[in-house]
């Protein structure tokens, strides 16, 4: 059993009941509307920190938002509007405007004041620091 528990699911809590029809409509009619995406995450532990690294390529730094409310952490962001200039015509497109959102349930004693987030190379790294009380402590043995 792990002492630290961070839960997340691939599917999104909200907007899931939107339905296929609405989704198809959104895709076919308004191509520039942001599509909801749950970014891929890698979580790892290093010394006294827990790092969540989320793949959010092309995100606009202004829209990135990390919010911890109770034990619910919500990470959001959206991609920049694609602007290639009016000379360019799209021939083939696979990338689309994206609204990133992922929720985590953090059931771990973390130092709430020391959470940091850094965005580089399209990856958002959120670093949580374990609360002092949760860090391993060496206990000296007394001998009489």
């Amino acid at each position: 059993m792990r002492f630290f528990e961070i839960k997340t699911s691939r599917c999104r809590d909200r907007k899931n009941n939107e339905g296929v029809r609405a989704m198809l409509q959104k895709w076919t009619q308004n191509k520039e509307e942001n599509v909801d995406v749950a970014p891929m995450v890698t979580m790892f532990e290093k010394d006294d920190t827990i790092v969540l690294a989320l793949e959010m390529p092309g995100a606009d730094k202004e829209t990135l938002d990390v919010n911890l409310d109770g034990n619910q952490m919500v990470i959001r962001g959206r991609t920049k509007k694609e602007d290639v200039g009016k000379d360019y015509k799209a021939i083939h497109r696979e990338r689309r405007p994206v609204q990133y959102e992922r929720r985590f349930e953090i059931n771990a004693p973390v130092d709430r004041e020391k959470i940091t987030a850094r965005y580089q190379q399209g990856v958002l790294e959120v670093t949580l620091i374990k609360a002092a009380a949760a860090q391993p402590k060496k206990i000296a043995i007394q001998s009489s």
């Binding site: 961070i6 891929m40 793949e55 959010m56 190379q121």
Partner: protein
């Protein structure tokens, strides 16, 4: 690199492409075993990952954008060969972490390769590539002879 059969990829603009793929896969369901699947690049057993690519055309240039999150500049390799742009690289695992220290890992790690056929001939010496926020932008200037030219007509 495994050879992957050609699959029509209309991208996200065609919502029915997925259905078509599904139908094809259902038809072939009993022809294959799971270990050797002809659509080896799908997610059933995990497989190859390739970046999503956009292709734009202007009178002077071809512009390519690719989503490549979490790479370093020197981990991406760009080659132009036979009028194709080959995008290769390797996404390495975080060196800071030991294997047993992962809670969860959904991100793709490993090598990838994507070949983009270019619609016209380009000047391979003047290609400009930049990498920002996990997005690779490549500008390929067209060769003079393939650029559209306006021909004025003299009226006599």
């Amino acid at each position: 690199m495994a050879l992957i059969p050609y699959r029509r990829d209309a991208g996200w603009m065609d919502p029915f492409a997925e259905l078509e793929t599904l139908q094809k896969q259902m038809n072939q369901l009993f022809d294959v075993s799971l270990a050797r699947s002809p659509w080896g690049d799908t997610t059933l057993l995990g497989g190859q990952w390739a970046p999503a690519v956009d292709l734009y055309d202007s009178p002077d240039n071809i512009l390519i954008k690719a989503d490549l999150p979490g790479l370093r500049k020197d981990e991406i390799e760009l080659t132009i060969h036979d009028n194709q742009l080959i995008l290769k690289g390797e996404k390495k695992k975080d060196t800071r972490v030991k294997e047993d220290h992962y809670f969860k890992s959904e991100r793709f790690y490993g090598s990838f390769c994507r070949t983009v056929p270019l619609p016209v001939e380009v000047n391979a010496d003047k290609v400009d590539a930049s990498y920002q926020d996990g997005v690779l932008t490549v500008t390929l200037p067209k060769k003079e002879e393939v650029k559209p030219k306006q021909i004025s007509i003299d009226v006599k």
